[in-house]
Amino acid sequence: MTTTTLAYKDLERDAEGFLKRPEDWNEAVAEEIAREVGIETLTERHWQVVKFIRERFLTTGSAPSIRTLGKESSVPVKELYQLFPKGPAKLAARIGGIPKPKGCI
């Protein structure tokens, strides 16, 4: 079976730039989205958060809260905001190719 990899620009996204289909995601796509939101290079710490949030969404069907991110992603809240200054949960979700988190926390 052959897999066609779509170019990032051709992927379907919502009005805020979140991928419509999480299965379209791959690491190259993540890097493109990161640059788009102002993060030039994804460090190992960024990846830890992005992979955690994506994995949690794929297993539970919803993105974790900032509280859970801080407690369980092994990246503490202060560092989350240093890595993603414009909003850790929102940006990690967008880079991780999952929908925008719906909760208020």
Partner: protein, 171 residues
């Protein structure tokens, strides 16, 4: 020359989409559970959207950042018609604690942290926490009575200076 009349959809396009706010100053003035949480949720939510946030605690709102009181904040069961609790039941000893426990369970299920943890989360998010000087003086409180994450005790004038260029929300 006649003026151009725009169709409704064109008018909409002409209008500039308002920008998202960049900075917010939230005042928390009440000391009940339902008086404190909305402000904390707004502050945390602002940071999560990348909005700069200051929280100013005044009057009984100070309980939220006072070490000895922050974990004893309760729901008001008297004079709170929205609870749907008959007025006479509200005065039964233990009722505020009971209602507060019920609410705490609900909030935990929604991943809303208890007040001390929430204050820490908001401080870690980069929001600034301030106490109102008039209230601090009135309740004879000292800087050491507050959480370590407090950024300062401000007069009203100083609060307004810090709030410059942003929106103010009073709760």
């Amino acid at each position: 020359m006649s003026a151009t009349i725009l169709a409704p959809e064109e008018l909409l396009r002409e209008e500039q989409k308002p920008e998202t706010i960049k900075k917010v100053s939230i005042i928390i003035s009440k000391g009940s559970l339902e008086g404190i949480y909305p402000g904390l949720i707004l502050a945390n939510g602002a940071r999560m959207e990348g909005i700069e946030a200051d929280v100013f605690f005044t009057f009984f709102g100070l309980d939220a950042i006072t070490r000895k009181k922050m974990d004893k904040v309760r729901v008001a069961t008297v004079g709170n018609p929205a609870l749907g609790l008959p007025a006479l039941l509200g005065i039964i000893p233990g009722m505020p604690a009971f209602v507060t426990r019920q609410m705490a369970k609900k909030m935990e299920a929604l991943d809303i942290p208890p007040i001390p943890e929430f204050i820490q989360l908001i401080a870690d998010s980069g929001a600034k926490l301030y106490a109102c000087k008039a209230s601090v003086d009135m309740f004879d409180l000292k800087p050491e009575d507050f959480v370590d994450t407090l950024d300062g005790i401000l007069t009203v004038g100083e609060f307004y200076q810090k709030a410059g260029g942003g929106q103010i929300i009073f709760t």
